[in-house]
């Protein structure tokens, strides 16, 4: 029986891993994601989950352990936050290039210095070009759901890639919300067992992670890039199956809120979307035709889906919760790719960005009102005056 409980994002991630019947878990503490491992350790100790629970000596070791586990045919699970995510940086590319579909849960956190522990997307966004699947949830429910969807997509033989399932630290990871946990029969129907390709074996010996020659490098990169051409189709199939089996209503790539007739739109990622929806409702009452698009996958980036969803809007405000110091727009990361996605449209929307929610700050309803004011002025004047606005500065 599916059951409805109140739980944090961390617990929801652990429940997702338990439902997926992960076989190897590797932990190392760093807040705020630690609570995921605490929940899993308890599940293993209580005999609710039959998994090998390994305590790594650092994040680099964590990723190495799950790489080995996935290479030997186990469904593997790990996670981290903030500087822990970046400490494991070396392993991300070999893990994707070696096609090991393990999963990493991220409860995001700012990078140092000076050791702020608030939520920020910068940590996992640093890894976005290493060949992993990557996306943010907006609620504990979506964390649970994404855990299952990501295993299904990542382990599909057309994909075979590791996945980063992200949630905002504290905003999602530590604030309880209603979560419907699926029945195990639903999970079984949705998520087939992990079938590795060429696993490590004593009876059929194989070499993993060998040296290749420079002339093998270009075809290897091309083949890794080619996989991402097939991923969107697999995501669409998996999301449709998930919606059908679990009774949800996810758009595979872009969560759209009152966008159809919108003149201005917020482009957001993660739980700030919850405040944004309320802001859109209030702005609508004041006669402002506002809407919201929430990105569900950063990798693969849904170029055409975004152009379709946002092409008719007059001005878009990208709410950035990650930094790209010295980048093209001198703000965050998302605006670069959103602008690129819209470039080939005949009528391009005006696009600016708002640096908000950095260092774990809340993005308040009043902040969205201010952003709406900037966007409305842009529409009136028919031009983008600034690439970036720093909220609250």
């Amino acid at each position: 029986m599916a059951k409805e409980l109140i739980m944090t994002g961390c617990r929801a991630a652990a429940e997702g891993a338990k439902a997926a019947e992960v076989e190897v878990i590797c932990s190392f503490p760093i807040r705020p994601y630690t609570a995921i491992m605490m929940e899993l350790a308890k599940m293993v100790a209580d005999g609710e989950l039959n998994a090998e629970f390994i305590h790594g000596e650092g994040e680099h070791a964590q990723l190495s352990v799950v790489l080995g586990a996935a290479a030997s045919g186990a469904r593997a699970y790990t996670g981290s936050s903030g500087v822990g995510v970046t400490y494991a940086m070396e392993i991300y590319s070999p893990m994707a290039g070696g096609r090991y579909p393990a999963q990493m849960a991220i409860a995001d956190r700012t990078l140092d210095p000076p050791g702020d522990f608030g939520s920020e997307h910068t940590d996992a966004m640093c890894t976005r070009d290493q060949g992993w699947l990557l996306g943010w949830a907006d609620s504990p429910q979506e964390v649970y759901d994404n855990t299952l969807i990501n295993y299904r997509v990542g382990e599909d033989h057309r994909v075979m890639l590791p996945q980063m399932v992200c949630q905002e630290g504290y905003f999602v990871s530590h604030i309880p919300d209603k979560v419907i946990l699926g029945d195990q029969s639903q999970v079984k129907k949705f998520l087939p067992p992990y079938r590795p390709i060429g696993p490590l074996s004593t009876t059929k010996p194989v070499s993993h992670g060998p040296q290749i020659r420079p002339d093998q490098g270009a075809p290897m990169d091309a083949m890794r890039a080619a996989v991402f051409l097939d991923v969107p189709k697999v995501i669409e199939e998996a999301t449709a199956d998930f919606n059908r089996i679990f009774g949800r209503n996810y758009d595979p790539f872009v969560d759209q809120y009152k966008l159809a007739d919108a003149e201005i739109a917020f482009f957001v990622m993660g739980a700030h979307a919850n405040t944004c929806r309320k802001a859109v409702d209030r702005l609508r009452k004041q006669g402002v035709k506002a809407g919201m698009a929430r990105l569900r996958w950063v990798r693969p980036w849904p170029t055409h889906q975004l152009a379709n969803a946002l092409g008719h809007v007059k001005a878009i405000g990208v709410v950035e919760t990650s930094t790209s110091y010295g980048g093209a727009m001198r703000g965050g990361n998302l605006i670069h790719e959103l602008r690129a996605s819209l470039y080939d449209l005949d009528q391009r929307p005006l696009v600016t960005s708002f640096m908000a929610g950095l260092g774990g700050e809340t993005i308040w309803p009043a902040d969205f009102d201010y952003m709406a004011k900037v966007l409305t002025e842009m529409v009136k004047e028919k031009k983008t005056k600034r690439y970036v606005y720093w909220i609250g500065m």
């Binding site: 290039g97 070696g98 096609r99 090991y100 075979m160 390709i197 060429g198 059929k204 010996p205 194989v206 070499s207 993993h208 992670g209 060998p210 040296q211 290749i212 020659r213 093998q216 270009a218 075809p219 290897m220 091309a222 083949m223 890039a225 080619a226 051409l229 170029t303 055409h304 152009a307 379709n308 092409g311 008719h312 080939d344 449209l345 005949d346």
Partner: protein, 117 residues
């Protein structure tokens, strides 16, 4: 939307240039000829069979499994295709049976190869 946007095209890697899935290859039980790494080497260990006691410390200390004990012939065999010349075995050998000899001293030394492999 009226206008059709550009697509991503297709990526076709010619068959002869394709790399195996995840670079996973069959491993022959002894050596993996597809990925030879010996061209990193500047020196190679040369052994003196008179001094060698077959204690297998070179076998245990080699990070690349480049020493094999041939039981029937009662001799240690060096795997030239994968030895990177790190000299750990030379350092660890308790009976001083191993010496580091520059690759240039050998007519087939890896530094003399026109092609790396």
């Amino acid at each position: 939307m009226a206008k059709e946007l550009p697509g991503y095209g297709t990526i076709n890697v010619p068959k002869e240039r394709q790399v195996p899935f995840g670079a996973v290859t069959k491993a022959p039980v002894c050596t993996q000829q597809l990925f030879i790494t010996s061209n990193w080497r500047v020196v190679r260990p040369v052994k003196d069979d008179e001094k060698c006691t077959r204690c297998l410390i070179c076998y245990m200390s080699c990070p690349d499994a480049c020493w094999i004990f041939k039981e029937e012939e009662d001799v240690m065999e060096w795997v030239s295709d994968f030895c990177k010349g790190c000299q750990i075995c030379i350092n660890e050998c308790p009976s001083d049976a191993l010496t580091a000899v520059p690759e240039l001293d050998f007519p087939d030394g890896v530094v003399r190869l026109d092609k790396p492999f």
